[in-house]
């Protein structure tokens, strides 16, 4: 997986969307990713890591 490709795809996802639409898309993406991860412990570690930066 090429990090520049992934990063670009995440930015591209929001092109042309207003803030509200972007938030909706992000929430959908998080749920889809949570399902792909499929491991509650791993997911909780990711959630904790994300929260640390807030």
């Amino acid at each position: 997986m090429n990090p520049d490709d992934v990063y670009e795809a995440l930015i591209e996802l929001h092109r042309g969307l207003d803030d509200e639409a972007s938030k909706r898309v992000n929430a959908r993406l998080i749920l889809l990713m949570a399902n792909e991860i499929g491991d509650a412990d791993k997911l909780k570690r990711l959630i904790a890591a994300a929260r640390q930066g807030a």
Binding site: R24, A27, R28, L31, L32, N35
Partner: protein, 514 residues
């Protein structure tokens, strides 16, 4: 309002100004009545006191879950409740103007009772009162508890039409509801979470041909921004719950001129209906720290309270009664030590926590408190049509099923390999058995050994199961045996039990030190 004509039960005087009873149940709601009947069927003299002389009014518990129906069946009252009520197994969830998914709560055949029966609480209470009378429960109507003395011999002060009476009781079983007088008199904290959203609860009389399913809407066109729930009950009464939000005025919202347009929007402008009952509620999830306080035990809403999503209020109370009755009967008969009663708290405390967790989560999902929780809910709902996994995030109420009492001190841990489904602490699953059903053969006055094949030389009555459904549900092989408690829960199981193993498990399950 109200088409139902409540019966009036005969007042009987307690007689002397001071009386003594062995077991007094406070509160003749579904829980108190179930408990009194169960104790009476176990040969215990029971007195039931209630401040009123009739059944409850209005829309209260309506959805009786399979486990409650099984308990009612054990007590001889399932038949009138099922016959009078509305059987349902399926539900649908809608988002805005489309159906998101449908579910089936009892997807396998071979059960005598359905996932749910809807029946107004007052009908259920009327059936239970009839049964309580016929089995010899002493029913003291218009006896209102207003004092409690626990210094020495427990004694209740009761107000009656003939004046104040002192009712001494060896055991006081408080089934007096969310506003429990016994709990208040003992000064026990009842703490937890209060939800700010108000809900309109309406019982509506109408002729309608909606299927007998649980229908739940998020943000429907007829009630934008809120949720709605529709249940069919007996007598062409339909129960409707509408979320009104935090700022709704509970007095204004109860007025017919406010309620009728809301219902017309939902049911159609030309639909003819009559209001049978209207109220506006907020919901709470609270519990007592401990359900046993010496000679006083708390059951049902007096012990724990939940929001209605998931039908976990009335049903958990019925399970409390099921759990306590056999234990108290064994203790009173001198067949078990008093500490067996501590297992009531050890088993029903975690059950209450589970019910509170599910009901609080459902309430949070239905009433999102932050912009972000609303966004995630929208995301789950918008994905759910296309992606099956997202349906599992959608929480319109996780519907009541029997709690598995995994950590119970009465359980004997598995020593043999088994599938998890009927692990110790589970309510025994029903299955076909001969010309009838398995569950009615289990439970009763004493423990039962449920065996598959081999006869076990042991101290107990045994029941043999042979149907394919029973073999599959109990993961049975020839020689497998289950020790079943009087409340139809699994205490232990073996592939090839020995008499010594059965006796040890039996002693543990009766509260004797293991």
């Amino acid at each position: 309002m109200g088409r139902y004509r409540s019966p009036v039960f005969p007042y009987r005087s307690l007689g002397a100004s001071r009386a003594r009873r062995r077991v007094v149940v406070v509160g003749a709601g579904p829980v108190g009545l179930t408990l009194a009947i169960d104790l009476r069927l176990r040969g215990i003299d029971v007195t039931l006191v209630d401040e009123d002389d009739t059944v409850s009014s209005g829309s209260r518990a309506i959805c009786w879950a399979k486990r409650s129906l099984e308990i009612f069946d054990r007590l001889g009252v399932a038949r009138p409740i099922v016959e009078r009520g509305i059987i349902w197994n399926k539900g649908r969830v809608f988002h805005r103007d489309r159906e998101v998914y449908a579910f089936d709560l009892l997807p396998e055949a071979g059960h005598s009772l359905p996932a749910f029966v809807n029946l107004q609480q007052y009908h259920v209470e009327e059936v239970l009162v009839g049964r309580a009378e016929s089995v010899g429960v002493e029913l003291l109507w218009k006896h209102r508890v207003n004092g409690l003395d626990l210094r020495d011999q427990p004694a209740l002060t009761v107000e009656t039409p003939d004046g104040t009476r002192i009712l001494e009781a060896d055991w006081i079983l408080a089934c007096d509801g969310a506003r429990s007088q016994v709990r208040r008199l003992m000064g026990l904290p009842f703490s937890g979470q209060v939800f700010e959203d108000r809900f309109l609860i309406a019982d509506v009389h109408m002729q309608a041909d909606f299927p007998t399913e649980r229908w739940f809407w998020f943000d429907p066109p007829f009630h934008p921004g809120g949720s709605a729930l529709l249940h069919r009950q007996a007598d062409d009464i339909w129960r409707i719950d509408l979320q009104l939000g935090r700022d709704a005025d509970p007095v204004e919202e109860r007025k017919p001129e406010r309620v009728i347009p809301r219902l017309q929007a939902m049911l159609g402008a030309d639909k003819r209906f009559e209001l049978d009952w209207v109220s506006v509620y907020t919901f709470q999830c609270r519990r007592l720290d401990r359900f046993r306080h010496g000679r006083v035990l708390f059951l049902g809403d007096a012990a724990h309270q939940v929001s209605p999503f998931g039908a976990r209020g009335g049903n958990s109370g019925i399970q409390d009664a099921d759990n306590l009755a056999w234990k108290l009967a064994l203790v009173l008969d001198g067949k078990a030590p008093e500490r067996l009663l501590d297992s009531y708290d050890a088993e029903r405390g975690p059950a209450a926590d589970e019910n509170i967790l599910h009901s609080a989560r459902a309430t949070d999902f239905i009433t999102p408190k932050t912009e972000m929780s609303r966004l995630f809910r929208e995301a789950a709902l918008s994905l759910a049509g296309e992606h099956a996994f997202a349906r599992r995030f959608i929480n319109s109420g996780r519907l009541s099923s029997a709690c598995v009492q995994r950590g119970s001190p009465l359980n004997t841990s598995d020593v043999d390999a088994f599938a998890d489904r009927m692990c110790p602490g589970s309510a025994a699953a029903d299955a076909p058995s001969g010309n009838g059903w398995l569950l009615p053969k289990l439970g009763g006055r004493d423990f039962t050994l449920l065996r598959f094949g081999t006869e076990v030389d042991g101290p107990l009555a045994s029941v043999e199961a042979t149907s394919d459904e029973a073999i599959q549900r109990y993961d049975a092989k020839p020689g497998t045996a289950y020790l079943i408690r009087p409340d139809q829960h699994v205490a232990a199981r073996w592939r090839q039990p020995t008499r010594a193993a059965v006796e040890a498990a039996l002693a543990r399950a009766r509260g004797h030190a293991a």
